[in-house]
Symmetry: C2
Subunit: 343 residues, 2 copies
């Protein structure tokens, strides 16, 4: 099956493209376990203390990888620290939302943003069998990380689901979307993850084995890219296929009632706003958060059908971040969306 | 300047290729600081307590990245947990070596192999301002991680230097090699890192900017790969150049007296041994450690000029690892190398 855009045999609709993509991806190993967790989490939030359903947001965070080999040693990665996703999760929890945190393994966790790179080795000075002494300069952030993160998880407000590859990410996102359908308008998708645009179709990949060491030079084509990963014969040509646009299917099929926010990252503001506008219309997003790479921690522009709103961090406060006012705005618009639909 | 193998204008010797590679790479940001640390570390080890120079090994660990953009969001990565490098470092320290641990940011640290993925959130149950309660099931590994790692660093036996990109890795490796020259035969290189074979020449890369969104389709060529990273126009073609073989220059110019061990990873044992043999001869390594992907935690084959030695972990012990007997063998051969040269 040919998964490519622009080739003769390409499936024609986004739905068919995604069906073909999923058919060719390796099955999710722990799908049953994830489904059970999601079911429990959604049920708990359908029956909250006040008798109404809680609002639930799925925050995606970090970057996806694209394996270049089946027994994967080499892969293409999208860098993202997960800072925005983890910070946003904290503010959503504060605003009373329950959060499904779909994050890249190893990236920043909620309430852990202020920790150093290697917290265990950098924050603790000594230890006996059951207690560890915390370096005083880190006492506050370590305390916050451990208590608030654990508390949100144990009280059932935070469900953390890790991914690594684009294949895992999209399959888990679908499971989440389908499970959140029962929440209707109260569900939100806040898609801050850096998702690969291109991938190597799984079925055209070879195992990392002898074929890697003896392939002849030839024109780039899917799969053959892998044969050619050997270090004795000049340059390496690779051809990657486009990842089908999942936003379309998310909005139209998986969770048509959910409030949907996607992200755009560029370095040129003019192009950025054009692309954000396009995503808004093409995928029927409710909001697109436009980031300029160099200023993304200071401000973002929120694009909706009616307006473009610049959201800035409070620069009078040293520790203030842009996610604080951003989540305020998002929650506000989600409320309006729910109320408008009720009317 | 053309950095390619097999093209008309390619520099002809490994030395020239590496010179060209370094001239085209972004300069190392903290080079001066690294040089100072190395100088102090080497001086301390030149004058040990017994009046003789300590043995010093540079252990490389984890995988290098290849940026696909100058303001890097996308990159190719070589997966490596850093388990072998960190385990080997522990055994070298135990054998009395001082270790320069050149590791990929975020990968496994010495004495931390048995910790869970996110130790801070998984090992600690509660905390007050200065103490954190350790989950009893993790008490032993947390204690070991904190005390032994800190102790090795504070007593001056362990110098940890992080890298991310192939450019950083090779530049820091050169600084280390040059600084270890004064140790002569007492220096060792144990090159366990998973180093990229292919890269995008820095000078041919564009900033992540408007060029990414408007390039026409065209044949793959260096740099143009970057222009084409946009998600609206079919497949992505990339062409990567070969990373020059640094082992040759390391052995012949940077540190000609040091004892050198490199690693080969494949999935087919026959091909593996052939490639290990080739590396041994081509780069004049003293040892090549041949790993088969699926069995690499159980056994490795050490290839020297005279012999092929299979090294296995002690399967009668649950926690025994292959690095324990491997480092025994390596230290033994390093001793013979020093003594033979003295004779």
């Amino acid at each position: 099956m040919d998964l490519m855009n622009g080739t003769d045999h390409a499936p024609e609709t986004p739905t068919l493209k995604i069906k073909a993509f999923f058919e060719s991806t390796p099955p999710l190993k722990d799908a049953a376990e994830i489904e059970t967790k999601l079911k429990e989490f959604v049920n708990r939030n359908l029956l909250s203390e006040n008798g109404k359903a809680n609002r639930v947001v799925c925050v995606t965070s970090g970057g996806t990888t694209v394996p270049l080999e089946k027994r994967c040693v080499r892969y293409i990665d999208n860098f993202s620290s997960g800072h925005r996703g983890s910070a946003s999760t904290e503010y959503f929890l504060k605003a009373g939302y329950s959060v499904i945190f779909l994050y890249r393994r190893g990236t920043c966790q909620p309430f852990c943003r202020s920790l150093p790179e290697d917290p265990l080795l950098e924050c603790f000075t000594s230890t006996d069998d059951s207690n560890s002494q915390v370096d005083p300069s880190y006492a506050e952030v370590v305390k916050r990380a451990i208590t608030e993160n654990r508390s949100a998880v144990s009280r059932g407000f935070l469900l953390k689901l890790p991914f690594t590859t684009i294949f895992e990410y999209l399959q888990i996102l679908q499971l989440i979307a389908v499970s959140l359908r029962s929440l209707g308008l109260s569900a939100m998708f806040y898609l801050a993850a850096a998702v690969s645009d291109f991938y190597v179709p799984w079925e055209s990949m070879n195992d990392r084995n002898t074929t890697m060491t003896s392939a002849p030079k030839s024109q780039a084509s899917y799969g053959r890219t892998i044969h050619k990963i050997q270090s004795g014969s000049g340059p390496l040509d690779m051809r990657l296929a486009q990842v089908p646009k999942m936003l379309y299917v998310l909005r139209n099929e998986w969770a048509p009632l959910a409030f949907c926010i996607s992200f755009k990252l560029e370095t040129d503001t003019d192009i950025l706003l054009g692309k954000a506008d396009m995503a808004l219309k093409k995928y029927k997003m409710h909001m697109v958060v436009a980031n300029e790479l160099s200023t993304r921690k200071e401000e973002v522009i929120v694009v909706t059908e009616q307006e473009k709103i610049t959201v800035r961090r409070d620069t009078t406060q040293l520790m203030a971040d842009v996610e604080d006012p951003l989540i305020n705005l998002v929650v506000d618009r989600h409320s309006a969306y729910i109320n408008h639909s009720d009317a």
